[in-house]
């Protein structure tokens, strides 16, 4: 089982001092230790953006892919080797703009992976433009007059996409976040956590303070995680109070379950040296 100190790499962390990613990475490392996983059981898939650097900073197997494609890569890994515990790390632009295509589809497939979205409501690495989740009025160099369009509500979309584990965390509360990550990972199916991750450099609106003043925990509010409509209602809550925690949870077959041929053996363990195709040839003769 990995220990915290095994999880560091030789890379110097280059996130801005105070960045929400620090809380996020410590929650993740803590979760890995808490889950008691061996290093060879874990794969981290990350996108392009500040969040993508997770691959450089956690000493486990990783696939640092292209912008927006965390989910299909993670899906491929999971199907090829369901024995691996796959974590996707994506950004708000990575997942809700460029990669939006894949989000709802991966969720409805209930791919057995965990997705953690570093939602800083801004394009961090490209120096601060609006994303799908930027607040209306948010001024950036690409929207000098303020973002005009209401933000996307990824939690609601995840619920509507038949999500089986839909949660939101806050990088400013790493302990709570760690517990969410552990639960999402133990969940059989798609464990999704949108994480409020303050970008101290480019997001002047959604600061630690802003979040701290607003977030409250659903579990403390006795929210029923089995009620889809209630979960949706909670997902619309956005103002003085913003919920974090688990919105919705359910059990249903994973994408893997739909392939009975994977039941006994992972694809990666199958013998391919001498595949017999005679039966197919017969049909052609």
């Amino acid at each position: 089982m990995v220990s915290l100190k095994d999880l560091n790499t030789s890379k110097k962390i280059t996130w801005c001092p105070g960045c929400g990613n620090f809380g996020l990475i410590s929650a993740f490392k803590g979760a890995l230790v808490e889950l008691g996983l061996e290093r060879e059981q874990v794969v981290l898939v990350s996108g392009i953006g500040c969040h993508g650097k997770m691959a450089d900073y956690v000493n486990v197997n990783s696939f640092h892919g292209i912008h927006g494609r965390v989910l299909p890569v993670a899906t491929g890994i999971n199907l090829a080797n369901p024995g691996l515990t796959v974590f996707g790390f994506s950004g708000d632009a990575d997942c809700y703009d460029e990669g939006w295509d894949h989000f709802c589809h991966a969720i409805r497939r209930n791919v057995n992976i965990t997705l953690i979205v570093h939602n800083n409501m801004v394009l961090g690495l490209t120096t601060g433009q609006t994303t799908a989740t930027s607040q209306t009025g948010f001024r950036t160099k690409s929207t000098p007059f303020g973002a005009a369009v209401p933000p996307l509500n990824p939690i609601a979309h995840a619920i509507v996409s038949h999500g089986t584990f839909v949660a939101r965390g806050f990088a400013g509360d790493p302990k709570h976040l760690q517990s969410l990550i552990v639960q999402a990972t133990r969940h059989r199916g798609f464990g999704y956590i949108d994480v409020f991750q303050p970008c101290v450099t480019f997001n002047y609106l959604n600061t630690y303070e802003w979040f701290k003043q607003r977030v409250y925990k659903l579990e403390e509010a006795k929210h029923d995680t089995n009620d889809r409509l209630k979960a949706l209602e909670k997902s619309f809550e956005w103002g003085d109070r913003i919920p974090i925690g688990i919105f919705y949870k359910e059990e249903r077959p994973t994408f893997n379950d739909s392939f009975p041929q994977l039941k006994d053996k992972a694809l990666v363990d199958m013998q391919i040296d001498n595949v017999n195709v005679d039966r197919v040839l017969q049909g052609m003769s």
């Binding site: 640092h64 892919g65 292209i66 990666v268 199958m270």
Partner: protein, 584 residues
């Protein structure tokens, strides 16, 4: 069968089962020991319009359809109107007796007509007014009778193809059609198939999609992901139908971007993975292609060309994407592009593609087209022993070296030992950013240059292996006293080989250099095949002669003539032979 050659065409509306009927009759011919090439011409619609299937049947090997046909099986009158000019002397037409628009005009034109009341038979005799598609079985029965062929071969196939009740009706229909001809017409059709001998060697009848599929199955492809796109959809269907028997995972995802990224994920995890598409989908895959190159993740991509640009003619054929697939995606990285020209190459090159991909840890593109993927041909069954699985430097289960594992270790060949993520003792990092040996991001200029060279070096070793193992990167079909050398690639191979036969029958000989591997370009071999040519003639299904551009680029030589066709249709042999003669 005069000159040992017979061609038929069956035509009608989309939805009338044209392709299936043509396929069945063609396959029946193969079962009877004949050689067959059949190809389907259809529009981008589901019902209506005009589809036809044309097949050539012969007692010797055939590589393409012919310009003319001996028998037209017309399921509607439009078929006659559109195709009667293709009829060979003394050819015949089977048509619906009650398709009145026919009789006045056509019967007086000297065409040999075999009117059969197909529709009436289906409605009145078979009592299937809502299943007019059965007309085609009536027609096939009639065709069997006209050509004096063995009806059992057909009925046997109908039995294998359909569920019992449906098979029964169709067999009945075929018999009625057969008997109708025997009863109402003289047995004087000149182009008889006659009773045929038993097949000599076990043969199969399949199209390029199926051959690629067979190659993938045999090569141990375990993960196949594809978003439907003509002309590769047939392969998706083939793979899906074999999914469980072969313990594969087949995914039809939300689009081509997902497709290639899933394939890369699966390949990173350690399985052989493949995706297929056509040009538009390949555009969407091009970013992933570059990621495969950069992360050195082996994948096989089959691209089925069709006429572009853009949506173009979705159900027709072209060779317009050669340069695109060679250069797709930003930056420079090694890839292999191979263009199978017939079903045999579809099979063997697909199987081999997985070896190339894994041994050199790069993307391999199989560049096919509608014509080769959707034309059926009879062929000797493939030799499974020729397919060897070579996975290259693959670390299994446990990494035991003392030094820390580096996924991108810089080696002489540029190929680094590849471990899967579940390997104990190795942290396996793939990275689309420039990276060091351990897969950690780098921006260092020296490391950048080193890694670029490491990756590019692989192509040198690919070329070396190709030479050492004598891979047929170029196939040369020589003739004595050749007046010229045709050079081409991909599916034009069939019509060219037929045209060569026609030309040599006239005492005009040409060589044919088929470039099978387009990238890395087999410069030396191409040079060799064209260096002594009296004339070089490029034949391509495109407008700009992309192969010529590659030849100029690599061999510094202009071809002397270009014969180009870019109307969505394959070359026909006679027409092609004429064009070649014009430039000789």
């Amino acid at each position: 069968m005069k000159n040992g050659d017979f061609s038929f065409l069956i035509g009608g509306e989309a939805g009338a089962g044209i392709a299936r009927a043509g396929f069945l009759f063609a396959k029946a011919c193969m079962r009877g020991g004949l050689h067959v090439f059949g190809t389907n011409d259809y529009q981008s619609l589901i019902r209506g319009g005009h589809n036809f299937y044309v097949a050539r049947v012969s007692d010797h090997e055939v590589f393409s359809q012919m310009d003319f046909v001996h028998l037209i099986i017309a399921l509607n009158s439009e078929t006659v109107v559109l195709h009667k000019n293709k009829l060979a002397p003394n050819g015949g037409i089977i048509c619906d007796k009650d398709d009145l628009s026919l009789t006045p005009e056509e019967s007086s034109s000297g065409l040999k007509l075999y009117p059969v009341p197909m529709r009436k038979i289906v409605i009145e005799e078979l009592k299937e007014p809502h299943n007019l598609i059965i007309m085609n079985s009536v027609a096939l029965g009639a065709a069997t009778a006209v050509t004096d062929y063995d009806l059992n071969l057909l009925t046997e196939l109908l039995k294998e193809t359909f569920k019992p009740e449906i098979a029964e009706t169709n067999i009945k229909a075929a018999k009625i059609g057969y008997n109708y001809i025997k009863e109402h017409f003289e047995a004087d059709f000149e182009h008889k198939l006659g009773k045929t001998a038993q097949p000599r060697k076990p043969r199969i009848f399949l199209n390029g999609n199926e051959a690629v599929g067979l190659g993938a199955l045999r090569a141990g492809c375990k993960f196949y992901v594809s978003y439907p796109m003509t002309p590769t959809t047939g392969l998706l269907h083939f793979m899906a139908s074999n999914e469980r028997d072969f313990n594969m995972v087949i995914v039809q995802p939300e689009g081509e971007i997902a497709a290639i990224n899933m394939a890369i994920g699966a390949a990173y995890a350690g399985v052989r993975a493949m995706t297929t598409t056509s040009g538009g989908g390949f555009c969407l895959m091009s970013e992933g292609l570059g990621m495969s190159g950069m992360t050195e993740t082996p994948i096989v991509i089959m691209v089925g060309q069709r006429p572009g640009p853009s949506t173009g003619l979705p159900t027709y054929t072209a060779q317009g994407d050669l340069r695109f697939v060679i250069h797709a995606s930003q930056g420079e990285f090694p890839r292999i592009v191979v263009a199978p020209g017939d079903v045999e190459e579809c099979f063997y090159e697909t199987a081999r593609a997985f070896n190339w991909a894994e041994k050199y840890q790069l993307p391999v593109i199989l560049l096919a087209d509608k014509y080769v993927l959707e034309s059926e041909v009879s062929t000797e069954s493939f030799d499974m022993d020729k397919v060897k699985i070579e996975r290259g430097l693959l670390i299994r289960d446990r990494y035991t070296e003392s030094r820390v594992y580096g996924r991108y270790e810089v080696t002489e060949t540029g190929v680094s030992p590849r471990a899967g993520p579940s390997t104990v003792g190795a942290v396996v990092r793939a990275n689309s950013d420039e990276h060091d040996e351990f897969g950690l991001v780098t921006e260092d200029p020296a490391v950048t240059a080193t890694m670029c060279e490491k990756r590019m070096r692989k192509l040198y070793y690919v070329k070396r292996e190709m030479e050492e193992r004598n891979i047929e990167t170029v196939k040369f079909y020589s003739s004595k006293d050749a007046e010229a050398t045709i050079i081409s690639w991909g599916s034009t191979k069939g019509p060219i080989r037929e045209a060569m036969k026609l030309l040599s029958a006239e005492g005009r000989n040409v060589n044919f250099s088929q470039v099978v591997y387009l990238h890395p370009f087999p410069k030396a071999k191409v040079e060799e095949t064209i260096s002594k040519a009296r004339k070089i003639v490029a034949v391509e299904n495109n407008n700009t002669s992309q192969l010529s551009s590659l030849i100029r680029d690599h061999v510094l030589r202009n071809v002397d003539h270009k014969i180009l066709k870019y109307d969505g249709r394959p070359f026909n042999p006679i027409m092609l032979a004429e064009k070649i003669k014009e430039v000789l």
